[in-house]
């Protein structure tokens, strides 16, 4: 049977198991929206295309499935760009479909025309401009395959309006064959053997785990490895939840705002076992001072991540889970008793802490209370800045896909739409967005999306009236000259704003109101904005100044 391009697109999405699309209509995607009008795929109409991209991303992070977003040509597509770049930096499987002007007009500066494949080339794993309707089903098949396999990432399919209307025979390909794309899935047995030998010889090993552990579903194997070799485990921001932070071997996060025990341990280690992490500058600090005595085993599916920043002694390219299964069979336990004693001393002497107040609300206290109220069993999204770092420090993540945050790109405005996507993917779980008063305003229009579609996410705004993280840098490194970082203490009125959209709003100004407010919010079957008026000039510590070695930390109270 012959189908139109628009119909082929939607049928292909069904074949890929797509349940929900986030998007916004426009002139050159009308044929697609006409098909979606009575399709079984749920369509979530956002209020800004950036929200669609982040929601698809949040859905993907929460479920492990590929997120899908859809926008029109020109401004619709360019509004997706920040969301696509966010997904690219954090290796999130996403397929973004954009309308394009008709093929005869491409290159003519037509109304709402933008060179979308050109614009998105450096921020996608791959992209397509569909020129023949006959190619469409294969392109969709390839797009989902590329997005979700190997090191995942976003794929853009730019679909001209005339192609959407042309007809052809629809056959969905059963398999794809791309001679230029064959990710390595299994580690080289010789390299695994070498790694096992090195681990057996080590005296001060540390496991450094990143987002790759979560993507590959290797959390169980990682715990097994840590327990088998009795090595402490630190995770990156993206790796939070990949190893339970309540585990006796967990050191929490490392890096610029990592724990002192994690930073000291990796610096003093003699062997780093990196799993699905990429030695980002926020993790290593000053590169030439990083872990000077450590050999490095690096397990990663992306060969280009190996020896990019830190010279690796034993690279093992492949899927983290497959490799850890084999490594666990091969390793023998080294004697780490002395080492663990030292690590535990660091942990004992430098726990994460903050100076609590009897009356004022400390932002860290709010996060601890959310942790307790949810019993650690919620999906926590964050925005970017202090809210994100405090969440990483004070919420104890124990399961994969429970922490959702823009790590690589650091996109303010990410958390709220991502929470909407996560809640749609996991309706049975409480979903929070821990926000700052700056970030939440970057995609606040999605209140309408959440309320209208009955997606009851809970937003905890840590309202200090400032762009807190930038203010912190100004305080520490620019002589407290708060240039353009003060926002306002009363504009907007977040409670009234929430209510204007039909959501519930609460303002919390006293410490003793914090816990009851969170519990009340969890019982309300609606979107809730909790406006926590918190200590203004609270800082995130420990902090490694930019360009310093990561054991040169500013600790709580060390400046006083």
């Amino acid at each position: 049977m012959k189908l139109t391009g628009a119909k082929i697109l939607v049928e292909s999405l069904k074949k890929e198991g797509v349940e929900v699309i986030f998007g916004y209509p426009g002139g050159v995607v009308l044929p697609i929206f006409d098909v979606l009008y009575d399709s079984s795929i749920r369509f979530i109409l956002v209020r800004h295309e950036q929200g669609a991209a982040h929601a698809a991303d949040g859905y993907a992070r929460a479920t492990g499935k590929t997120g899908v977003c859809l926008a029109t040509s020109g401004p619709g597509a360019t509004n997706l760009v920040t969301g696509i770049a966010t997904a690219y930096m954090d290796s999130i499987p996403m397929v973004a479909i954009t309308g394009q002007v008709k093929t005869s007009l491409i290159g003519n500066d037509a109304f709402q025309e933008a060179d979308v494949t050109g614009i998105t080339r450096p921020i996608t794993k791959h992209n397509y401009l569909v020129k023949n309707v006959e190619d469409l089903s294969l392109i969709i098949k390839e797009a989902f395959h590329i997005a979700s396999t190997g090191r995942p990432g976003p794929v853009v399919v730019d679909l001209p309006v005339d192609i959407q209307m042309q007809e052809t025979e629809f056959r969905y390909p059963a398999a794809v064959h791309m001679r230029g794309y064959k990710p390595t899935l299994f580690g080289h047995p010789g390299q695994i053997k070498k790694a096992a030998r090195e681990i057996g010889r080590s005296k001060r090993p540390i496991i450094y785990a990143g987002g790759g552990v979560i993507i590959s579903g290797a959390s169980g194997e990682l715990i097994e490895l840590a327990e088998k070799i009795e090595a402490p485990v630190t995770t990156t921001l993206m790796g939070l939840g990949g190893f339970p932070q309540t585990h006796r071997l967990s050191l929490g996060m490392l890096g610029m705002h990592g724990t002192a025990s994690a930073n000291h341990s990796i610096m003093e280690s003699d062997l780093i076992i990196a799993v699905g992490a990429r030695f980002d500058d926020r993790v290593t600090g000053r590169l030439d001072a990083f872990a000077p005595n450590a050999k490095v085993i690096h397990i990663d599916i992306d060969p280009a991540s190996v020896s990019k920043n830190v010279e690796v002694d034993i690279p093992i390219v492949g899927d983290a889970k497959n490799i850890l299964v084999e490594l666990n069979k091969a390793v023998k336990k080294p004697d780490t008793a002395e080492w663990l004693k030292k690590v535990n001393e660091w942990r004992k002497h430098h726990p994460l802490r903050y100076n609590d107040s009897e009356t004022k609300i400390k932002p860290q206290y709010v996060i601890e209370q959310i942790y307790e109220a949810t019993k650690g069993d919620a999906i926590i999204c964050t925005e970017v800045g202090q809210n994100q770092m405090w969440t990483a420090q004070f919420y104890k993540f124990t399961t994969p896909r429970s922490f959702i945050s823009s790590g690589g790109l650091g996109t303010m405005g990410y958390g709220f739409p991502a929470a909407i996507g996560a809640k749609l993917g996991c309706p049975g779980k409480p979903v929070f967005d821990i926000a700052g008063d700056g970030s939440i305003q970057m995609n606040i229009q999605e209140l309408a999306t959440a309320v209208i579609n009955r997606i009851p996410v809970k937003v905890a705004i840590l309202n200090n009236g400032f762009l807190g993280m930038v203010r912190q840098w100004q305080e520490l490194f620019y002589g407290k000259r708060y240039s353009s970082t003060y926002l306002s203490h009363d504009v907007p009125d977040f409670v009234k704003l929430a209510e204007a959209y039909g959501a519930a709003g609460m303002r919390i100004t006293k410490k003793h109101e914090v816990r009851p407010a969170i519990e009340k919010a969890m019982k309300i079957d609606n979107v809730v904005f909790m406006d926590f008026i918190v200590e203004e000039e609270e800082n995130v510590f420990p902090m490694v100044p930019s360009g310093e070695a990561i054991n040169k930390m500013i600790m709580v109270g060390s400046l006083a």
């Binding site: 494949t117 050109g118 080339r121 450096p122 794993k125 791959h126 401009l129 590329i146 791309m178 001679r179 230029g180 794309y181 992306d302 060969p303 280009a304 190996v306 020896s307 990019k308």
Partner: protein
């Protein structure tokens, strides 16, 4: 150090833009880049001359390999290879220098394709060593226009 990268790529629109974009985004320096069809019309071969230390080159190769439309990447530098470059150039000659120039070109296996009363248009094909040698000697004459194809190369095995 200069390296010669030989890449087989899908013969599709946009592939050159992907590669050029990758080099500029990651700050790699290209000396020259050539592209043309191979014996298989669906595959093109790119020969890229790039400068950098071993570590940079390792990244260049890995990043190129990540592109979906790239089928394979080889660094020919450390293996045996044959390379050629084609030069077309015009030199100024007067009555007194014409014969001397013609002799120099002939000695270096360069071919005069066209001549006018005051110019010679010349073709030269050679490997880098010979190209450099020819260019050195040409500085005695006024080179007016020059176009170079960039190097192409094949591994010996």
């Amino acid at each position: 150090m200069r390296h010669i990268i030989s890449a087989l790529v899908e013969n599709k629109s946009g592939v050159l833009a992907r590669i050029a974009g990758l080099f500029s985004a990651r700050g790699f320096n290209i000396d020259s880049l050539t592209v043309g069809e191979t014996e298989d019309p669906t595959v093109s071969r790119m020969t890229i001359v790039v400068r950098g230390d071993d570590r940079t080159l390792e990244q260049v190769k890995k990043q190129l390999n990540k592109l979906i439309d790239i089928i394979s990447v080889r660094d020919l530098t450390k293996k045996g290879f044959i390379d050629r470059e084609l030069l077309l150039f015009k030199i100024s000659v007067g009555q007194d220098t014409r014969q001397k120039a013609a002799n120099y070109l002939e000695k270096n296996h360069a071919r005069v394709l066209h001549s006018t009363s005051n110019t010679l248009t010349v073709e030269f094909v050679g490997d880098q060593e010979h190209v450099l040698k020819l260019l050195e000697g040409l500085s005695d004459y006024g080179v007016k226009d020059m176009v170079r194809t960039g190097r192409i190369a094949l591994a010996k095995e």
